[in-house]
Amino acid sequence: MKTGERIPLCNRDSSPNELYGLMFGIRTFEQSLLDLFQRGVLAGTTHTCLGQEATAVGVFSALNLELDCAFSNHRGHGHFLAYCGEAELLYLEVMGKPGGVCGGRGGSQHLQHRNLYSNGIQGGIVPVATGIALAEKLKGSGAVSVVFLGDGTLGEGAVYESFNIAALWQLPTLFVIENNGFAQSTPCALEVAGSIRARPEAFGIPTTEIRTTNVETIRNETSRCVDAMRDGAGPRALVLHNYRLGPHSKGDDNRDPAEIRAAWDQEPLKVLRERLDTTEVQLMEAAQTERIGRARERALAAPRYEY
């Protein structure tokens, strides 16, 4: 597959500046999608991770990107970009063009690139990711398998079947549970009873819960989980709390505007930017904007399917 210019990726040694750069790249990409939709350039649907960039960057920067596997969900652009940085391939895919990472067949929710997979069925990906962990364990590859699920996806029974099996067989599966406050239009309180954290714990899965949008904290906690798993300690769960800044997909958003405004004060880019040097931030932002812009323009110029 022909790949264009990539966004620089992050690892455990990346500086806050670099982490910020990657998050900003993802933000820019996602915002441009909403823009392309509004301009009628994109069709179908898309789910952006605005406000949740720290999860993507925090988790993937803790992984061995050559080795580890990840299964992403419907809200997977950030995961994809933090995994491989191939903005152009993703643009092409979302645009349904032949050059896309899956030739335009999969589109936004159905991505596959090297060790990264995604699918649009809530919950169903969780046992698959658990099977990936089993495969890697049987092969002795040392890889871990990461799977992303939202608060709403905790409604699906497949999740608990997977918790049970991952725990019984001590598989290297990392369940990243991201509570962004909503499932589509439904607030968490109407779809999740009891405690999120207690759910994997009930199956004997050590669970870390963090209420922060600090990307470094997320990277640190992920690293601890991954190191333990690589040492054979069995599955881990990571419960992250954040807020979805954008609409569920591209449509209506019936949430309280004040609530959304308040969330913009704690969103991961802002939180990190406050600690960084303004000039460096501006340089980085400019470089990313240009990079993403080039990817977008190249993708826009690429041919569509013709019959």
Partner: protein, 345 residues
């Protein structure tokens, strides 16, 4: 509903369904509506449930993302005398409710020796052409046809979707009600040039719509249902206007059990040399196959020496692409239906 009503006040499929939901809830306190994201102001992913939670807050329940349990709950409600209408947000997720439909809902009445009834309706939108990709565009109804005890019905823009829903809720047995997501915005209308007749029987209560050209027997017939009705109608019009070929249209609303008596009645009116079956799913092991087999059985008894050219026309036998061009190319269009028929003449 007659053609006249429709022309008086234009109504969309969505409006028809939504109005029926309101009537159903207002008219019967046993009706309970449940599904994902159905509360106002959102009112459901495709808005069929809009306004219900405001009017009937106690009987409209937004659920977690648990398709299996949604239908399971509906089973329990139905067993205990309620009239649940469950929504599965995308028909693609009916796979998650397959066990509740096949091993619970459909079985209870018979295996409990007729001591219970399971009057539930599972509504769900199927179909592509919206760019939603491989897991949000399928027409999976073929996989739940032929289940003893389970009805499958499909409204369409040439009929009365709301009445069909009311009929479904009135049945004592479980019904999967397959809506077409591209048709929600369509106006209910029937072509004035064609004569319309509805067949319905006690055994097969969901009406089959027969649209015929006036004067003389047709050159062929197209069978279709749901979202393929407007596509097939366009093919009929194209064949007539461009190619001078007169093809009747039959729009089936009862997908399962097969409305054998309706088919018999149709075949009694005359046996076409060419019958096409237009469906959006790939036609392998699908709805059209069942119709071919049933029609052949009927033909053998009423015209043992005649032969019919059966033509199944469906989508590509692949998943459905996100790419708009590929999706539209792979799903059966009016052009394709017309072309495939033309090849027979």
């Amino acid at each position: 509903m007659s053609t006249k009503d429709m022309s008086e006040r234009p109504t969309t499929v969505l409006q028809s369904l939504n109005a029926a939901m309101h009537r159903l809830m207002a008219g019967d306190s046993r009706v309970v509506v449940l599904g994902e994201d159905i509360l106002d102001p959102y009112g459901g992913a495709f808005k069929v449930t809009r306004g219900l939670s405001t009017q009937f807050p106690d009987r409209v329940l937004t659920t977690p993302i648990s398709e299996g349990a949604i239908v399971g709950l509906a089973n329990g409600l139905a067993l205990r005398g309620m009239r649940p209408i469950a929504e599965i947000m995308f028909g693609d997720f009916v796979t998650l409710a397959a066990d509740q439909l096949i091993n619970h809902a459909a079985k209870f009445r018979w295996m409990y020796n007729e001591q219970v009834r399971v009057p539930l309706v599972v509504r769900t939108p199927m179909g592509g052409r919206r760019g939603y990709g491989p897991t949000h565009s399928q027409s999976l109804e073929k996989h739940i046809l032929g289940v003893p005890g389970l009805w499958v019905a499909a409204p369409h823009a040439l009929g009365d979707p709301g009445s069909l829903l009311e009929q479904s809720v009135a049945l004592e047995d479980p019904v999967v009600f397959v809506e077409s997501k591209v048709c929600y915005g369509r106006f209910l209308t029937r072509p004035a040039e064609l004569r319309a007749e509805e067949i319905r029987t006690a055994r097969s209560p969901f009406p089959t719509l027969h649209l015929t050209h006036r004067g003389g027997s047709p050159d062929g017939v197209i069978f279709c249902y749901g979202g393929m009705a407007p596509v097939a109608l366009e093919a009929v019009e194209r064949l007539r206007d461009v190619d001078g070929i007169r093809v009747d249209l039959v729009v089936v609303a009862q997908l399962s059990p097969t409305p054998t008596d309706h088919l018999e009645a149709l075949l009694q009116r005359g046996i076409s040399e060419v019958i096409a079956y237009a469906e959006e799913a790939s036609s392998s092991a699908g709805w059209g196959a069942e119709l071919v087999a049933t029609i052949e059985e009927i033909r053998a008894s009423i015209a043992p020496r005649r032969s019919i050219r059966h033509l199944r026309i469906g989508g590509a036998h692949t998943p459905i692409a996100s790419s708009k061009e590929m999706e539209l190319h792979d799903l059966p269009s009016a052009e394709l239906v017309a072309e495939r028929l033309l090849e027979c003449f």
